[in-house]
Symmetry: C2
Subunit: 373 residues, 2 copies
């Protein structure tokens, strides 16, 4: 089967390498690149060359960003070409539109690599749903922030120190805000919720990152046997669902607390299967490339993969309710003492917790917040 | 699609319940039970009733034990009926024979539930192998022994105390030897190696359980930041492979060390995917039933699943070499001091370690052994 790759960066090169070395049944026939980077006879700067080639059955989009990825994916699906993408930003923004176009043209849309890198997460959710409803999910979905917390704990370093080391090692972007402000996890949480709950999740969900995390916070929680991890979470119950992204303080004896370096760990809970957890590389050329090639092989084998988002759930923030700790100099309404410099607010929604946190940040920009579980 | 269930015990009832409540596309048409237990109009004590019914496409074997399960599975496959089984003992003993019969008749053989209960482990290995070789695997594959170690650590209880509590709770059989002597893990390791390495693994592998584990041992390893877990392990390299079952002393910060109660955690390593870990319920009516129903749905959807064991690897115990700790009053050749009452032997194979352990046991039946990683 002939495919085209859009973008020959880290992920695109991984796909190209894996297919060349390991998958003789697939051929990378064309690669879309910028006009000044056409270093390979398969490369073209014109997407029309790819769209117009009837021999190309699958378009693998590894460009990242919303445009022109969005337009290119729509055009491929409209032309009846299946699309495999690792691009969480564009899927989170346009999942329902892509799914409709795919259904209309009979093309497939596969998105495994957009969440959890090499972890077979989307496929596992889809498989679980053949029997169970997914009652909830949660996960460490961002390797950069896990690496930051892991290194701060291991080396006793400051956030800024660790971040700049992560940037040197290529674990973090030069502009780290998508990672440390939770935007990347937000996109992955939206995609996961859409697949897990069969609903086009387009909510303006509460999102809090770890930008203000300090050694003091880790020590504070550590003294209570807790570790901080940035989690995406979702829950559904009786026709309603809720999602959130926030730092969570977890017991140090949980699997989540022990996830090292830049690995990911994602969990789903179903009625009959119970709790299933999946751990692996959440990013990187070969693991992400592997997830993409797996998707292409599924297309080649004719596996049915359609998204309809027909569950009709309503969004209800009350489903995600818990206790929240604020380390802040600001006054937090309704709070009680937790530790020196930190207070506790019990029984509020993730949405309300985020609002309280925004008010605290306005008064004390160094404030930090974490949910207790 | 109509199916028959052989055996209406814990797992068989789980399959029956899940299909009745959640999977309208499947129908449990017949159930094989003992003549004095025919409590349901679908039940029969005659396997011929099932074999002779052309409407039954899949036979789900949940009887356990080698015979008559072995004969029944062969007869179903010969008759062109696909077989789904949770029975590790019979698959470990007859995997190659079953695979040949399935290939000859065109029937499918699916064994997901035989290892790791509800964890999608066998399917994940098969999927990984579409791209990678599986370079190694390891896992906590037995919930009973994990529960025993977990409870000993948590409650400071003795092995015997915890075992009898596990028996009360239904986590352990009245005769616990299959669990605590590693026989159950041995069967699961053989099955995993067969699928992961594409080789009919019928080796007389080294198997050591945790029957002699004491609080003293846990404290001894605990003082060095280690926890003991019973692991099945396998590795392949350059046309050779090795497997073993043994207690392993792992850092307390590993995911394995933090697996609670009776859960399982299994790991595979591939060239491009890296390390993937899967965690879930390794036993129980609904999780194991779920894995079986997933297999039946795969048969219904026509997914290709064939085992050929064609890799032609040779068995080489030298691939599993490491350091071993013996807590024993016996003299262990080639050992050095480790902790009071315990000695260390460096750089020996799992097979040689097992032999040393057998000699130690002959002299001091209370001896305990664990591999260091």
């Amino acid at each position: 089967m002939k495919i085209a790759i859009l973008g020959h960066g880290t992920v695109g090169r991984g796909v190209d390498q894996i297919i060349a070395e390991r998958v003789p049944s697939l051929e990378v026939a064309r690669i879309l690149e910028l006009p000044d980077r056409l270093t390979d006879p398969r490369m073209t700067a014109s997407y029309d060359d790819i769209l117009a080639d009837p021999a190309i059955e699958v378009v693998v989009e590894c460009m990242g960003g919303v445009e022109p990825a969005h337009t290119f994916i729509c055009q491929a699906l409209d032309a009846g070409k299946s699309v495999v993408t690792s691009n969480k930003a564009v899927v989170a923004a346009h999942f329902a539109e892509f799914a409709q176009k795919a259904e209309r043209s009979g093309a497939k849309l596969l998105i495994e690599a957009s969440v959890g890198g090499g972890i077979p997460w989307i496929a596992s959710i889809a498989k679980a749903r053949r029997i169970d409803d997914v009652q909830s999910f949660q996960g460490i979905m961002n390797g950069t922030t896990n690496y930051i917390v892991y290194s701060m704990l291991k080396d006793g370093s400051d956030f800024a120190e660790v971040l700049s080391k992560a940037q040197e090692m290529g674990y973090a972007e030069r502009d780290p805000s998508a990672d440390i402000d939770g935007i990347d996890v937000r996109n992955k949480t939206i995609i996961t919720a859409s697949v897990a709950f069969d609903v086009a999740c387009t909510q303006d969900l509460p999102v809090t990152g770890i930008r203000t995390l300090t050694k003091y916070d880790l020590d504070l929680f550590g003294s209570r046997g807790l570790t901080v991890k940035l989690l995406g979470r979702g829950v559904q119950r009786e026709g309603r669902y809720a999602v959130a992204v926030e730092p969570v303080a977890l017991p140090t004896t949980t699997l989540e607390a022990n996830v090292p370096t830049n690995f990911n760990l994602v969990t789903l809970v179903g009625q009959t299967i119970g709790e299933l957890k999946f751990y692996g590389q959440g990013a990187g050329s070969l693991p992400t490339g592997n997830a993409i090639v797996q998707d292409v092989l599924d297309v080649a084998e004719g596996r049915d993969m359609t998204y309809r988002f027909a569950a009709g759930l309503t969004y209800d923030p009350a489903l995600l309710t818990g206790d929240y700790v604020y380390r802040t100099k600001a006054r937090v309404g309704g709070s009680t003492f937790y530790e020196p410099g930190a207070c506790l607010v019990r029984g509020i929604t993730a949405a309300a917790a985020r609002e309280l946190f925004q008010r605290a940040l306005a008064e004390d920009p160094s404030s930090f917040m974490a949910a207790l579980v």
